[in-house]
């Protein structure tokens, strides 16, 4: 175990995982919020677009999205997110695909949060003259976010673990290094242990944090 840790830069690999996870989370939150607003808007066309997004990306395997980003978008259509550095291009596409895929789940988590907000809140917001955007911003979304902390937490934890899928396009992260090590050293229990512990460290405290946050932030009714 010690020799593996000294011969391979495990920390750097997990740093890649952390970067993928943070950037992916930011992207997924942004996309998810936008798509949730689309699905909740009174405009039919926006609702359709939102529903289409969720149904498409939630039901497409992440592996497929990752492969498509490099083979389809990057190689065939020539959309490079970094034209000079191949590994940076791969990394950025991995961030985009993590965001796009988990955005669909964040959207649904937010919508479930919106459902915890009684209809009367929206009516009261409209009754004092707030526009749709204002009632979203000041009344519905703040309460929806608080009501959806737990499912958003689950999605983020899933995102961290799913970042390993970026291995299929060779993004620099933990799972990528793990398969390199297994290839060089053979599959040993210690290899499994190192990466298992790494992910436990990343996800377990986060899970506890989200649980306590969902309790603290809950809107009292």
């Amino acid at each position: 175990m010690g020799e593996i840790l000294s011969n391979y830069d495990v920390l750097a690999a997990f740093w890649g995982t952390i970067q993928l996870s943070i950037l992916g989370t930011v992207g997924a939150m942004l996309l998810g919020t936008i798509v949730a607003i689309l699905r909740l808007s009174p405009v039919r066309v926006f609702q359709w677009i939102g529903t289409w997004y969720v149904n498409t990306f939630r039901n497409t395997p992440l592996t497929l999205l990752m492969v498509f980003s490099i083979l389809g978008l990057s190689f065939i259509l020539g959309i490079q997110l970094n034209t000079t550095d191949v590994s940076s291009n791969v990394f950025r596409w991995a961030v985009v695909m993590l965001s796009v895929y988990h955005g669909a789940f964040i959207c649904e988590a937010l919508r479930s949060g919106v459902n915890t907000v009684p209809a009367g809140q929206a009516e009261a917001a409209r009754a004092i003259g707030l526009t749709f955007g204002q009632s979203m911003q000041h009344v519905l979304l703040p309460q929806a976010f608080r009501g959806s902390v737990a499912p958003i937490g689950s999605t983020i934890i899933a995102l961290i673990k799913n970042s390993t899928v970026a291995q299929v396009i060779g993004a620099g992260e933990a799972a990528n290094l793990m398969s390199t090590i297994i290839e060089n050293e053979g599959s040993r229990f210690s290899v499994f242990l190192i990466f298992a512990i790494g992910f436990v460290i990343l996800t377990l405290p986060l899970g506890l944090l989200f649980t306590s946050m969902s309790r603290r932030l809950a809107v009292k009714r």
């Binding site: 809140q121 009261a124 009754a127 004092i128 003259g129 526009t131 703040p142």
Partner: protein
Amino acid sequence: MTEPLVVLKDVQKHFGDLHVLRDINLEIGKGEVVVVIGPSGSGKSTLCRAINRLETVESGTITIDGKALPEEGKALAQLRADVGMVFQSFNLFAHKTILDNVTLGPIKVRKQKKADAEKRGMELLERVGVAQQAQKFPAQLSGGQQQRVAIARSLAMDPKVMLFDEPTSALDPEMINEVLDVMVGLAKEGMTMIVVTHEMGFARKAANRVVFMADGQIVEENTPEEFFTHPKSDRAKDFLGKILTH
């Protein structure tokens, strides 16, 4: 009656097969207090909610201060700002403090400065007797206190007319009076009010007119005194007989 502020003309609405509003014609003058009573399911709440378009109507027109209710959008939001609404279930914004509940509209809709809005907000909370609770959250207040805050929240917008949709129906009996007192005070000051309620005491004390609804229709309109002592229609006699005998 002075110039009409709210005018409903030939208003119709269905919920599926149920004809909830039938040929509603009603004019409410400036400064008038109109109490709408009737058995449950008679359409009185729907009528109240139609006036600020929380319920849409199928045909007929509703005008407020000479302007027809606009379609969904900015213009409708503007109109709603001028129409106060108090709900049966209070509907205070659960994640905001009492003071923030009262100042949200003035700051975001009327574009008032925060300090001005808070000063006025505190005055209004003082007036309805909950200034002590300004920094608390709605869930920490009693129902009666919450409803008084809801009234203050509406008043903060300086509405032309206020709608009350069964404001005391969700309250414990001992809290009803504290809310009615505030409403009587408003009526005395000349606020135009449309009040859906079962509180006959309030109707007698503060209303200029009682509108009796049954099965989606306005069956009878009269002064409170006349209506309660000499109801004309059988439907009203039957209803009053049921609620006044015990």
